[in-house]
Amino acid sequence: MSDGTTLSKDDAPELRDQAARDAADKAATYEWGFVSDLEQEFAPKGLNEDIVRFISAKKNEPAWMLEWRLKAFRMWQGMTAPDWAKLNVPPIDYQDAYYYAAPKQKPSLSSLDELDPEIRRTYEKLGIPIEEQKVLAGVEGARKVAVDAVFDSVSVATTFREELKKAGVIFLSISEAIREYPELVRKWLGKVVPIHDNYFATLNSAVFSDGTFVYVPEGVRCPMELSTYFRINAANTGQFERTLIVCDKGAYVSYLEGCTAPQRDENQLHAAVVELVALDDAEIKYSTVQNWYPGDAEGRGGIYNFVTKRALCQGRNSKVSWTQVETGSAVTWKYPSCVLAGENSVGEFYSVAVTNNHQQADTGTKMIHLGKGSRSTIVSKGISAGKSNNTYRGLVRVGPTAEGVRNFTQCDSLLLGDQCGAHTVPYIEVRNPSAQIEHEATTSKISDDQLFYAMSRGLDQEAAVALIVNGFAREVLQQLPMEFAVEAQKLLGISLEGSVG
């Protein structure tokens, strides 16, 4: 594809060739693919009960937690990996990975200054506002974002803790929360995603190393956006984080999650579990920009992203809104879901999934309607390019006692090139006649007319494609908090570089 300068037919073939090669190089570059040179502490390679005990001991966990992990591990040994998704995943050797890797530093820091400068440099490269000052240095009245940063397996820094504490909001790494608020964690952990839920969730329950815990007390509107950045740095490590967010009656929180990993030739596993609980009148807005290393243009390396995300809208009028922009990972297996148990509860799912080169994504949502008058909206935009496959898989289920349920689903696919695939697999199961369920889907490509028009206005082909793709995904992007929206738009453009032309 051209790099913006126009090449006429008379240009020397070498020149055109060079432009193509540059573009290919650019497309193959993963801006966040650097490795940080840190001293790491690893648990021995492999997975067995001793490793589970080791992780638990490293984290000074109470006995109940260790029991919980061991129960999950024993269960996992008897389970098989799910194979129903439209994914082609080579067998994974679970013994050939490290299940615990931590920067050699005491994980609990009394102040940010103690943070390993190398980690800090890594985060600076990532452009994360990890230092409070940076955020504060913004325009007066600018929105603050509290950040929890998880590095390989361990949470290294949580900012704005004091200010959040004043509001009564608990925002901690989950290992700290297990120690400091054991009753609260014990009450909700595994309630939404039980340990036997599925192969990857069970594995996560056994070996999760860190993650984030958020509790917003009754009636509190969390004063700032909460954010976690996940980073896999060490080679051969799996990342298994666990996030638990509980929003008490009438509370509100907006949570952002971002992820990156270095560029490596081997595949790495990321198997996270996210559980959300919304009580009466509570609202949780959960936004993800997933940019794990997708592998190179030939499909070597990349992250296997096998994630279980589920929300329980337990209270009346509770609301959970999932927004995701998925551009990374070699393989994505992810279905952020809502169990709408509360009367008049609301579930929303807005998703943009981009696949390029050899990436594979099988992603979507489940809306389980159990409460009267519960409503859900699903808007999914899949964009496939290169030799990738992109599948939307979704379930809308209405229970017999759920009166007056409404669901609207729209899933649109955009194909860039004729070597990729776009698939739609919606399941609709309705057991109550008062439900109104609507599903619509379209599949299209960028028309030559659209491209021609945009280019006639002075855009080069790449910018024109980015513009059209952003327009295609607009309904989803506008759901993102402002901080993420800009980043997400840029990411869409970068992910598709070299895919048209």
Partner: protein, 359 residues
């Protein structure tokens, strides 16, 4: 898998909404023998064939171009289709040939299994239409292979009126410009499983699969249709209407597959479900699998009760609520039967649907 009969379980993705638990009993049951068949003939004036418990009855048949005997059903390893065996009927039509009137086949079961294999081979430009009726009590199990030559045209209408279980498995391949339309009405008191796999092998072919599934009591209808576009410029339509009352379940899994080379494909799916009771279930899975970029694929699915606005409108015109509901339900079902070409057949099917709705 399920013992002697080797049936799939609901853990198999393609069978997740099926209930085959009644089959072993039906498979082992002894047929009762004769059954009245008079009112089952629509009377199209063309060739007619009668099968009772899977056995051909020549004395009440006039097979015309259809031959009775061995048939290659092409069911492959389909768990029910492969049980249909290799005996049944075969229709081969040479180039430009076609029977003048619709071929009519009536299948009656009298309590036990009724296995029939069937094969249709049509050469270039041949034309035919076929209507099938499945009646009586028992297990109708029919597997059929359809091969359509260049620009051949075939329309199939079938109605399942009896009790017990009907499993109808069709595998079809269409050459360039060929056209195949299969419409099914399930308006009996038994369960059904319909498997339809149409492959548009040649360019510019037309495939259609659809129907109306009506279920009450504890009935289950389960339709599974795959329209595969293997060549460019093909068109496919899938229009399904389900009505479920009492504790019944209707499930439709309809898939469009577009292969890498099948550019300029135009595929549409419309899956609608109407629930008449709070204990009934409607399942739908309108699936797309697309590997070509210049295609038009759209699907829509809705599940719910009758449109309140339409009911209000009819009420405002003085139509009593009961009548208004009946009117709208009839219209809902008629949508799926409107494509049947033969007028007498369409009228008979609509009458069957009306009878079911009025019961």
């Amino acid at each position: 898998m399920n013992g002697v009969l080797d049936l799939p379980s609901t853990h198999d993705e393609a069978w997740r909404w099926s209930d085959l638990s009644g089959l072993p009993a039906l498979a082992g049951a002894r047929p009762g023998g004769r059954a009245p068949t008079g009112e089952l003939w629509i009377g199209c004036g063309g060739p007619r064939l009668l099968f009772i418990d899977g056995a051909y009855r020549p004395e009440e048949s006039d097979p015309g171009p259809v031959t009775v005997g061995p048939a290659e059903a092409g069911a492959g390893d389909h768990p029910l289709g492969r049980l249909a065996g290799h005996q049944g009927w075969r229709l081969q039509l040479a180039r430009d040939r076609g029977p003048a009137a619709t071929i009519e086949i009536v299948h009656v079961a009298t309590g036990g299994p009724a296995h029939v294999a069937a094969e249709i081979v049509m050469d270039e430009d041949a034309q035919a239409s076929l209507v099938e009726t499945f009646a009586g009590e028992g297990w109708h199990n029919v597997a059929r292979k359809i091969t359509l030559g260049r620009a051949a045209r075939l329309g199939i209408a079938r109605r399942v009126l009896g009790g017990g279980f009907a499993s109808l498995t069709d595998t079809a391949s269409l050459a360039a410009g060929a056209s195949l339309d299969i419409a099914t009405l399930a308006a009996g008191s038994g369960d059904s499983r319909l498997d339809t796999r149409l492959t548009l092998e040649g360019g510019g072919a037309y495939g259609e699969a659809g129907g109306a599934l009506l279920a009450r009591g504890a009935q289950r209808h389960d339709a599974n249709a795959v329209l595969r576009h293997a060549a460019a410029g093909g068109t496919s339509r899938q229009l399904w209407r389900s009505v479920a009352d009492d504790r019944a379940t209707c499930a439709v899994a309809a898939r469009v597959e577009v292969a890498r080379d099948a550019q300029k494909t135009d595929a549409e799916q419309s899956l609608k479900g109407l629930l008449l009771a709070r204990t009934a279930t409607i399942n739908a899975k309108p699936e797309l699998e697309i590997f070509a970029d210049d295609v038009k694929c759209a699907h829509g699915a809705t599940v719910g009760e009758l449109d309140r606005n339409a009911l209000f409108y009819l009420a405002s015109r003085g139509v009593p609520p009961v009548e208004a509901k009946a009117l709208l339900t009839r219209a809902f079902v008629a949508d799926a039967l409107a494509r049947i070409g033969d007028e007498a057949v369409r009228a008979a099917f609509l009458a069957d649907a009306e009878a079911w709705l009025g019961a």
